[in-house]
Amino acid sequence: MSDRTPGTDIAHGVPPVAVSSTSTRDNLTGSWKYIRPAYRDRVAPCNQGCPVGIDIEGAMNLVRDGRIEEARDLVLRENPLPAVTGRVCYHPCEGACHRGGFDGAVAIHAVERMLGDLALEAPPSLPAPRTRHADVAIVGAGPAGLACAYHLVRLGYGVTVYEAEGEPGGILRYGIPEYRLPKRVLEGEVERLRALGVDFRCGVRIGADITAGELDRHAAVFLATGAHRPRRLGIAGEDARGVRDGLDFLREVNRGGRPVLGERVVVVGGGNTAMDCARTAARFGADVTVLYRRGRADMPAHRDEVEDALHEGVRLIQFSAPVAVRTAVAPQGREPLESLESMFDGGDEPRLEPRAIGLTCVRMAPGEPDASGRRRPEPVAGSEAFLPADTVLTALGEEADLSFLPDDVRHGDGTLPVNPLAGTSRAAWFAGGDLIEQPHTVAFAIGSGKRAALGIDRYLRMRDGEIGDGSDLSALRYGPEGNLSATRWTDSDPVRRASPVNEVVGFDQLNLAHFERVPRHPDRMAEPAERRHSFAESNRGLAREVALAEAHRCFNCGVCNACELCLIYCPDVAIARRDGGGFEIAYEYCKGCGVCAAECPRGAITMVREGS
C-alpha cells in the first residue's frame, strides 16, 4: 500500500539512491503490543453518590459545553424537583466528589439549582402522552410521591395523587422553612407535574376520606405518606406546655402561623430538623440554644446547616442531654415568668397548667462506640445543671404511622420492608419515602419514588406479558451502589458513551496533572444579621455565570469529554477523531504503550490484555 509513487529511474529494483517511495504505514506495529487501550466510560462517584440517581457528570459536561438546556433536560430525566433539591438536598454527591481530594468538591448543588431555576423559567411542559391504559394511585404528595408520579406520568400512565394536606409538597411544603425553600419554588415544580398530567387530590386522607380498599381500583398503588409520629424525649415534664414537637412547630410556621415562643428556646436534637427549628425560632427573635448529647462532629445535621445556624446566633451546647423538663404553673393564658420559678419549684401548690421553664441537663461523655461507629454518650454523674427555656422544641426524629395499612401488607414497627423496586408484600403495592428503611432526606425520598415508578412500570408490563422477569437491575444503577436510572430503564440516554462499564472511577485513576486549582465558588449567603429577621431565602445560590464556572471545575470522572489528550499524546498517531464524536484507535499501529490511558485526566481509558 505504497502511498508515494516510486522514484524514477529504477534498475536492479532500486532507484539511483536510497530514496523513499512508501510509508511506514506498511508496518503494522500493532503486532508489538500485549495490552491495548479501550475507551470505557465509567461512572463518576457523584452519580453513584446521588440518592436520586442523576447523571450529574453528564449534566456538568453539557454545561461546560454551553449546552445548558440539554443539561437541564438531562437532570429532569431523573429528578422532577431540581430547583428543590438544588436548595435542600444535603448533596452527598459532593461528599463523593473526587475534586474534594484536590481543591474542594464541585458545588454540584449550586449547578443543579441553577438548572432547576432554569427549568422553572421554561415554558410549561406539554402533557405527557398517555401511552399506558393503567391508572396508578399515589398516596402522599411529598417528595417520594411527587417523584413517583412524575416518572409514571412520563412513562405514559394515568396518575392520581392523594394528599391529606391542602396542598401538595409534604415535608417540602410543611416541614422545610421558607428561608431554605421558598414556596414559589416548590409550586413551580409541582406546576410542572400538573402540566404533565398528574392529577392531585388534596385534602384526602387515607383511612378517613377514602379507604385503603378503594385504592385497589387502581392498577398499582404507591404509598408515600411519610413519617409523622415524633420520637419522644422520654423524660419527666415532657407533656408540659411549652414543650413541643419541632416538626409540628415548623408545620405551623409554614402554614403562616406565628407561634408564641417566649425569649428563650431550647431545641433538643442534632439533626436537620433541629437546625430548621433553631433557625426558624431565631427568626422570631428568640434566643436559641441547641442541645445535643454528642459532639458537633457527630451531629447528623449537615455541616452547612449547623454553621448557618451558628452564624445566625444559635448557641450549641454539645455533650448535654435533658433529664427533666422543669415546669412552673402560670395562670391560664399567661406566660410564666422566670421569677416565679423559686415560688413554684418543689412546692406543693396545685399546678393548674404546668408550663416548661427550662430543662435539667446532664453533661454527657463519649463512651464506647455504638453500632453507628459514633461513641455512645454516657451521662456524667453529678453534672446536672439547669437550662432555662420558655419553649422546648424536640427534634429527635419521626416514625411512620402504619396503622392504616391493610393486614396483608407486611410491615414492621414504623417501617415497611420493600424490595429493590419498592414493592411491598402486596403485589401491586409499592412504598417509599420515609415509610421505608432509608435516610429521611428529600433526596432519598425522591430516589425511592423513582424506584417505585420503575417498579410499577415493570410490574404492569410483566402483568400484561410485555416483558419477562429478566431485567438486570445492576445495569440500571449509576455504579454498583447508585440509584436506578429512569434513562437507563427506558434506554434513552442522550449522552453518547464509549463502551460504558458500570464501575465507579477511583481517585487514583484520575490524572490530576491536567487540572488547575480553582477554588470552589461559595454560595451567596445573605448576611447573618439580615437572615435573623427574615424568612427570605438565606442562600441565594450562585449567579448563573458563576454556576457555569463551577461546572467547569468538574473532573468529568470516568467519562470522556473529548479533551483529546489521548490523541495529542499518542506517539504512534494511532488515535483519530471519529465522525460524530469520540475516538478511534488504530489497533494495527497502536503499540500498547499506555500513554493515552495514563494521561487521560478522568480514567476513561482502560488498558486490557490483548485477546481478552
Binding site: 524514477t8 536492479h12 529494483g13 539511483p16 539512491v17 536510497a18 530514496v19 523513499s20
Partner: protein, 399 residues
C-alpha cells in the same frame, strides 16, 4: 578574453562561469585563494551564490551535501588535511549521488607539516565514489571546472578537480576565459532528477538492508561506468565549442614508442619536455597523461599501451606497504593483455612532499631499469632483486 592568472583563480573563474549556487568552504593553504576570489565574486555580484563560511571542511562538504540534495549546484575546495577530514562526507556525496564539484589542491599530508604537493590526499579518497580529474595547466583547470559540473550532473556523481600545490595553484599562466553566454549554453542551470522537495516529500538515505544495499552500490558503479563515455562527450562538446579538449588520457608522441612515461598533473609538462628531447635524439619515447583517475580509463589505457615494451609510471604518491598508486592501477588494468602485448611496467616514486620532479629525475626514470635498483640513489647497489617483490624505484631520495 585572455587573462594571466594563478591556478587557484582559474578554479574560481570556472566556478563563476558555471554559476555555482551554493559554496561552502573553509580555508586551507594552498587552496585558500580559490575561495577568497569566490568571496570577492559573490561580494561584488559577479556570482550570485550563497556562500557559507563554515567552521570546518567536514561541515563544508556536509553543507554541499545538503545543498546539492536540495537541487542546487554546489561547490567547495580544499586540500590535504581538509580533504581527509571530509572523508566521511565524501562517501555521503558519492553514494548519495550528489553532483557536487570540488577542487582539491594536492598537498602532502602531515606529520610533519607540509604544504607542498603530492597526491596522497586525493588518492586516499579513491573509493569514496568521486570522479577524479587531474589537471596539468591553468587553462585545463578552468576548462575542467566547467566541464566537471556538466559531467557530474549528467551521471549524478560528484567530481573532484585536482591541482598540484603551488606548481599550479600559485603559478600564473595566461588563461582564455570563455564568454559567459557560451558557457551558459554548454552548462544550463541544474535540473535535479531527485531532490528534497516539499511538494514531493521523500526521505533520502534511510536504512538499507542487505537485501538492497548491493543493488544501490551497483547503480553507483554503473554510473561510474557511464561517466567514462559521458566525459568523452562532454569533452568533445567543449572542444567543439571552445577549441580545447583534454581526454580522459592524452597520448603524447607514443607512436612507435618503446618506452612510454605515464604521468599525471604538472609532472606531465616536464615529461613532455623530456620526451621532446629524447625524440630529438631519436629515442622512441612517448608519454601518456592520465587525467581521469576515477573512473579509471582502463580501455583507453589498454588501447594506448598494448604492445609498448616498457611503461614507466611516475607516481607522486605512495600506498605504504605496496606501491605507487597509478602504477598499481595500471598493472591491474593491463594484466590480462596477451603476454606478447603486455608491457613491462616500472614504477617510480617521485616528488613526494613537493620535491621537484626535474627533467633529470624523469630522465633517470627512463634510463634506470628497476631491476638495477630498488632505490635509485647515486652510486648505491640494489638492495633486492626485482623478482623477489615488485617494488617501485624511489627516485631522487638520499641513501
Amino acid at each position: 578574453m585572455k587573462k594571466v592568472m594563478i591556478g587557484n583563480h582559474a578554479v574560481s573563474w570556472g566556478v563563476q562561469l558555471a554559476r555555482a549556487e551554493v559554496i561552502a568552504a573553509y580555508p586551507i593553504t594552498p587552496q585558500t585563494q580559490i575561495v577568497e576570489e569566490l568571496s570577492e565574486m559573490c561580494a561584488d555580484g559577479r556570482l550570485r551564490a550563497q556562500f557559507l563560511k563554515v567552521e570546518s571542511e567536514h561541515s563544508a562538504m556536509a553543507a554541499c551535501v545538503g545543498a546539492s540534495a536540495t537541487g542546487a549546484r554546489a561547490f567547495t575546495a580544499t586540500s590535504s588535511q581538509g580533504l581527509l577530514l571530509m572523508h566521511e562526507m565524501l562517501h555521503w556525496a558519492g553514494l548519495g549521488r550528489l553532483p557536487i564539484v570540488m577542487a582539491d589542491i594536492n598537498r602532502a599530508v602531515a606529520p610533519g607539516w607540509s604544504i607542498w604537493t603530492d597526491q596522497n590526499d586525493t588518492l586516499a579518497q579513491r573509493d569514496t565514489g568521486w570522479i577524479q580529474l587531474y589537471c596539468e595547466t591553468n587553462q585545463e583547470v578552468l576548462d575542467t571546472t566547467v566541464q566537471a559540473f556538466r559531467l557530474a550532473e549528467t551521471v549524478d556523481l560528484p567530481v573532484m578537480i585536482v591541482l598540484d600545490a603551488f606548481f599550479l595553484s600559485h603559478t600564473s599562466e595566461p588563461v582564455d576565459i570563455p564568454a559567459a553566454a557560451e558557457v551558459d549554453a554548454f552548462l544550463p542551470r541544474r535540473t535535479a532528477r531527485f531532490k528534497l522537495d516539499v511538494d514531493d516529500p521523500r526521505a533520502f538515505g534511510a536504512l538499507t538492508t542487505p537485501a538492497v544495499y548491493m543493488e544501490i552500490r551497483l547503480r553507483q558503479q554503473e554510473a561510474m561506468d557511464q561517466a567514462r563515455g559521458v566525459f568523452r562527450d562532454v569533452d568533445q562538446a567543449w572542444g567543439r565549442q571552445f577549441g580545447r579538449r583534454y581526454g580522459a588520457i592524452e597520448c603524447y608522441r607514443t607512436e612507435g614508442a618503446e618506452t612510454v612515461l605515464v604521468t599525471s598533473g604538472t609532472i606531465t609538462s616536464t615529461a613532455r619536455h623530456v620526451v621532446n628531447e629524447r625524440r630529438e635524439r631519436g629515442e622512441p619515447v612517448g608519454l601518456v597523461k592520465i587525467k581521469m583517475f576515477r573512473p579509471f580509463p582502463t580501455a583507453l589505457l589498454r588501447e594506448a599501451l598494448a604492445g609498448i615494451p616498457r611503461v614507466a609510471v611516475l607516481d607522486r604518491n605512495i600506498s605504504p606497504g605496496h606501491s605507487g598508486i597509478f602504477a598499481e592501477e595500471l598493472r591491474a588494468a593491463l594484466y590480462d593483455l596477451p603476454s606478447g602485448r603486455r608491457p613491462r611496467i616500472d614504477g617510480f616514486i617521485v616528488g613526494l612532499g613537493g620535491r621537484d620532479v626535474t627533467p633529470a629525475v624523469i630522465a633517470e626514470c627512463l634510463d634506470r631499469a628497476p631491476e638495477a635498483a630498488v632505490v635509485a640513489a647515486a652510486g648505491r647497489e640494489p638492495r633486492r632483486a626485482r623478482a623477489a617483490t615488485r617494488e617501485d624505484v624511489w627516485v631522487g631520495v638520499k641513501p
